[in-house]
Amino acid sequence: MNNIEIKLKDLVKDLFAGEKIDVLIGYENGSLPLRSRPCFVHSAGEVDRLVWNSYCTNNLAVYLPRIFQRQEHKKEETPPPRVGIIAKGCDARSVVGLLKENQVIKENIIVIGMPCSGMIDPAKVEAALDGAGPYSCQGEVDGSLEVTTSSGEKKRLKREEVTAEACLECSHPLAEGADLQIEGEPKEACDERYEKIREFEAKSTEERWQSFVKEISKCIRCYACRQACPNCYCKICFVDQTKPRWIGASDELSNVMIYHIGRIFHQAGRCVECDACVHACPMDIDLRLFTQKLVKDVKELFDYVPGLSVEELPPLWTFKQDDSQSFITEP
């Protein structure tokens, strides 16, 4: 057990002992190699389930609106729970977004910031193993990950090569503004970003369209990207509306494209680049290529970075007199 994990458990035990929280959202060991998964801890006795390692990819903030909405389904009235949540830099920024949009009760949450050193992307590992999931994992040795394939072959993968894209490009590894902080050494913030976006922008219109078609053609409309996103808390998503019915139900390409355009555009000024959608996608669609474009534009056009301040107005709720209007058609 690593040092951070011990500190975390002690802290959470204290929170339960002091009756500060009713439930803690954290990570536990998953049932597959390289997977830690969200878990809900309800008492000090269960705290030992918690883990902190390089596989905690899920954005836990997605559960916050639900945990408060859940109450509404219950028959007897109970007060909203007090929730502790373990947060990497990205999770904490999502929490800020949810607070800003009044989706969670501020007084009822305690954010525990983790010193995140970047997570491993199981999809990258799978790709490195020719498409098959690893059969077991022996852990990290000297900056490399040791795994065994289902045919029994042992392989070493460089940590950097299998680190999630979002983590490599992470600008805020530390959960700044968290209520409690677990000390440790987070990964360094990355300033060199959007290289892939710039590359894509430089391509011809036709090339870009072909890439968009190629990515979206993979979609099976399972809505995992939507469900995994902390920002997608709408009670009725536009794709499920019947009047008007924005898009048809079939997997005809234009339907699927409009779903993705609608969803991604709805994240403008809100997306924290956590890649929860990317990791959730079973078909490995490169959603980051599209979500990040909006993040970049919002930064460049409106000088706004989501998830850093609860008070600052979101960019699309406001305006400046001198906002760029170079896109306006002049006859």
Binding site: F200, E201, T205, E206, E207, R208, W209, Q210, S211, F212, F238, W246, I247, G248, E252, L253, S254, N255, M257, I258, I261, G262, I264, F265, A268, F290, K293, L294, D297, V298, L301, F302, P315, L316, W317, T318, F319, Q321, D323, S324, Q325, F327, I328, T329, E330, P331
Partner: protein, 144 residues
């Protein structure tokens, strides 16, 4: 691109705000200014009323171009509707172009109630540009 298609005329949906651009279009008509007849006008209360999905949905239904026009900045009937919309439009314009949809397919402009001739010139320009592109194929729902 498919530049010369026999007898093809583009279909363009124009979302015009009630207070300025729609009145501007009206003025162009009343003043008997000539402009191409390719528009299908949808009057909206304010350019701030435009949901990006209106634009995308119009493209899916097979229009060759979309034009959104509202009051000039500072002239909005609702004070700031067009200014808030301007941010949304800037992002949308960039985003659709980024995905590979020709930028000329989706255009935004400001036309006031007194600018009949600006309206006519704007339509002339938009129709010309869309004609140059040829019929829309991207994002269009597959034929039945």
């Amino acid at each position: 691109m498919n530049k010369t298609v026999d007898n093809w005329e583009p279909k363009i949906v124009a979302f015009l705000c009630n207070w300025c651009s729609y009145a501007g279009a009206d003025l162009a008509g009343v003043s008997r200014l000539q402009y191409p007849p390719n528009l299908r006008v949808i009057r909206v209360p304010c350019s701030g009323r435009i949901n990006p999905l209106y634009i995308v949905k119009a493209l899916q239904q097979g229009v060759d171009g979309v034009l959104v026009s509202g009051c000039h900045p500072g002239d909005c009937h609702y004070i700031s509707g067009n200014l808030v919309a301007r941010r949304k439009f800037a992002l949308l314009k960039n985003f659709l172009a980024y995905l590979g949809i020709e930028p000329e397919r989706v255009q935004f402009s400001w036309v006031s109630a007194s600018e009949g001739s600006r309206f006519a010139a704007l339509i002339e320009k938009v129709v010309d540009e869309v004609k140059e592109l040829g019929p829309a194929k991207k994002l269009v729902k597959k034929g039945l």
